[in-house]
Symmetry: C3
Subunit: 418 residues, 3 copies
Amino acid sequence: VEQQELESFKKNMDDLFLIIMGNFVFFLQPGFFLYESGTVRQKNVVSVAFRKFINTTISSLTYFLTGFALSFGDGNGFCGFQYFALVNLPDEMMAECFFQYTFAAVASSVPSGVVHERSSTVAFVSYTALTSGFIYPIAAHWVATKNGWLSRLGFDDFAFSGVVHAMSGATCLAAAWMTGPRLDRYQSGGQRRVVISPHSVPQMILGAFVFLFGMIAFNAGSQGSISQSGDGSIIAQVTINTLICAMTSAVTGLIYHRFIVDRSKKNWNYSSCVNGSFVGMVAICAGCNQFQCGGAFALGILSYLLYLAIQAIVEKLKVDDVVDGIAIQLGGGYAGLLSVPLFKDDGLLTNPSKSSPWGLLINAGGGIVIMLWSFSITILLYIVLRYFDLHRVSPSDEKLGLDMVIHKEKAYDHTTRK
Amino acid sequence: VEQQELESFKKNMDDLFLIIMGNFVFFLQPGFFLYESGTVRQKNVVSVAFRKFINTTISSLTYFLTGFALSFGDGNGFCGFQYFALVNLPDEMMAECFFQYTFAAVASSVPSGVVHERSSTVAFVSYTALTSGFIYPIAAHWVATKNGWLSRLGFDDFAFSGVVHAMSGATCLAAAWMTGPRLDRYQSGGQRRVVISPHSVPQMILGAFVFLFGMIAFNAGSQGSISQSGDGSIIAQVTINTLICAMTSAVTGLIYHRFIVDRSKKNWNYSSCVNGSFVGMVAICAGCNQFQCGGAFALGILSYLLYLAIQAIVEKLKVDDVVDGIAIQLGGGYAGLLSVPLFKDDGLLTNPSKSSPWGLLINAGGGIVIMLWSFSITILLYIVLRYFDLHRVSPSDEKLGLDMVIHKEKAYDHTTRK
Amino acid sequence: VEQQELESFKKNMDDLFLIIMGNFVFFLQPGFFLYESGTVRQKNVVSVAFRKFINTTISSLTYFLTGFALSFGDGNGFCGFQYFALVNLPDEMMAECFFQYTFAAVASSVPSGVVHERSSTVAFVSYTALTSGFIYPIAAHWVATKNGWLSRLGFDDFAFSGVVHAMSGATCLAAAWMTGPRLDRYQSGGQRRVVISPHSVPQMILGAFVFLFGMIAFNAGSQGSISQSGDGSIIAQVTINTLICAMTSAVTGLIYHRFIVDRSKKNWNYSSCVNGSFVGMVAICAGCNQFQCGGAFALGILSYLLYLAIQAIVEKLKVDDVVDGIAIQLGGGYAGLLSVPLFKDDGLLTNPSKSSPWGLLINAGGGIVIMLWSFSITILLYIVLRYFDLHRVSPSDEKLGLDMVIHKEKAYDHTTRK
């Protein structure tokens, strides 16, 4: 057997691995659709369906046009500038390109979730295109390429707790803050927060299961290859860590609500449990390749606490977030960034070395820079949108619901005789 | 290391590749169910559920009984005749057999979609069994085996834009034409076409996402092996081309409706966008392994135009198609067949050689023969069905809805207190 | 090329194979959710959603805590005792651990299905944790490890028709019997059985498709490796056998209902067909790696007959089973156990040898021991639960529905203007 034949076979397997994992991550797109369309009121379901489908459209075309080039083309420490429109992209980078696209699709899908039921079509198209074609790719370049300035400083974020999740959490915060709350979200002069109940719990829960499925691949695929010695056991550890962290965080949320928030009502709250699982999934991304199971367990609890803190701040600021995406992405994502220098084998809490504090500083500080990056560009975009009064639909349209106003379609027709 | 050991390992990987891709293509079955059951009125939802599940049943049993034998058994230029009921099928062809089955399942599922809400159970069973056990397998033999007469002439259809999609589009046309329109589809003596709105948009959209997921594997799996040098980058190119073509076609549909069809109403139409993505997915099958990204992009636009033309003809003929399947499959499929000799590396529009016009002639003509094949057999079947008045349910049954008439079940029971 | 490099590559592929197949089996979790939440009445849908999500949570944490240790740790013939909380689990067993977890998730999910709409939260948590952390892992140790006492006797159950399905069927029977029927299930002093119609047929059918998808991987992944000579064709045979057996059983159910049960009403019953497919999927697990296609076909018919017999007994005993899980799991699972010594290459009905009767005795007797094991422990649990009156909700709560009582949430809000 020639070595060359084996190398070519290995390369094929790496490509197949990235494509299959990419397919699973791509399947997060219907996950977002299900979860978000279940969450909104019936009058905005077609709008959610439309935007989630269009998100796939816009994110793929923009990522292939500029996103991959800015991320993974040769360039400087700030961004790449090669392979625009995938021109001259070498065959051996094709699989990587698809896999990376599926991350851009995730990064650009979350923000549209938090501002549903009031955001305009123009705003939606703008921030989606901007996130997948510009903001996310540049942050990815900083962290995931040898040249990237954060990468050179030692920023450690395996499956992008920071670059995808904390980044998009900051976009979410900017978008929700600049868009303003839904009309009927606050009563009594803005003092009382109104619970807006979801129109379909089964759709939400199906979406939550799809997230679990997709996020396992999100993390496992981040290994990038399957042909090198040890790859197999790393993706297995990643998979188990993802489950443990997500499920521990889910249980934490469940217990917190049953015995603290709702202890008088004694009711079991599915949504605290589901949101908990999201927080855990997001948090474990950064260190899932390095942690022992115990680290994943501890992070499951700690990340939920950070999520609660951020959720409280978001509520205090009267920022209206349809899917709780800000607290999940910021809390989970930033907890993930902090966890790596703390929990990894030579981490500050496990077996500290001289360089351990530096690792914490870089991950903590780098995460803030990434969040500021996406936050400030989104704010700039919204300043322009607000100037032209394009950031949200009119109050009367919002009351009618976006389905009849923008799409002239109803989500359901339950007429039995027709 | 012995060469033999590596070869056996490679063969295992090829089998695994086909089985995983086949599993994804098999997942198109719930995709059809979701999309079609969302599209129909509530009184016919159980009927759609039943037929889509039974489609899986019939297509698997008939394909294993006769389909695979007629396709891939040794035989002559017209059909194979070996391995009926999979008897004596060699172990090394098992994975191929499963993968090919999933294509037959797709080919036989589309036709039942276009004649929902009025087609009889007998008609449904007949054309499903005929398509998966006879019509499709023979067309596949022509194109996908060395012996096949179209294959020998140089017919070039990588992932079956022609053999699956244009073929089934012609079956759809024959079935919908012979079945006749739904009772309430045309008013004022047949002059005015009535819009029948879907009963659940979320079900449709979830189905559309499942299609995207499944069709990527439909095209990637068509490479057939993953162990040969270059396989990995080809399936990656295939994946990206599928996304680009589908999404370009989706955007074309969206823009066409917003700025041409609905320019006065100014509404954004989700269904033009979703149907556009279907057209693109179907069109790219034939050439996704050969095209550069630019070719996929151009085909996305052109295939949508052919789809529009065929849709106009279908409407002109007053053929009632519940899911727009005729125009999608014929328009997308035939555009795909034409695209290969035009856009491939030595294509007529890129770098023509002396044999290029011949390639166009074969693909254009072969596609027509395939369509005539499935069209005429379906017409023959319907002549028999109509003779015995078995082709559709009675007008009174159609008004009541197939659920209560054929299944004696309602799709939903939204009684809150019981 | 060094042999070592190839071995390490092969190990990676085995790990990847187990992780991908495990991901597909994990996707059975939303399958259970969809099928069961569609089946219940609208007032209990949130409860089903909650429990199915929590099932994933509990089963993963308990399996990793004690389940894997009791199953696959070194130990004696009864159970293992190593790797509790996955401590010191070697890297090379990680992928196996995840794959095995997905089976525990299935085994523990079925029982909660049969007692929906009346079972208490405490009961649900207890039997779920007990099944995934104790009952199932110990049965798996008996059969799937070299040391296991049934394994040493020659018990032959490839993909766990007995260890997962018949085992959980016995748990189901114990739970449903001890819980008692739903209040409105029997009228006229318990004489007349009331049909409780599902609240959403589309949700059920989507769940059924997801089962088909997941069970193919359940069986294929049971091969455990993809790198050994012949692995590829075995998983292909397994896949085709699973389809054939499931679909034959589906057709048997369909024909039985159309021409025997409902021959006067002449209606086609989707649920007999869907349940038939479940029976076939469950039955083929045990022998799918050894049977020819003909064996899978015969088993499809025979397993349905055993299912019918058990279904009749369950009805006779007035045990109320929301999803027909007892008959499916016991009938399908036990038929599977019996089929191996009958239909395999040197089976009693094919080519009997001197040891063939012994094989039948072991599979028949071993299956009964496994069922008694899970049945008796579940009964013990319920004796305790009933003593403290914790086994089901109060009659008034049951009438109101678990959603408003336990969760204070409605599944749907179809208000159109709000």
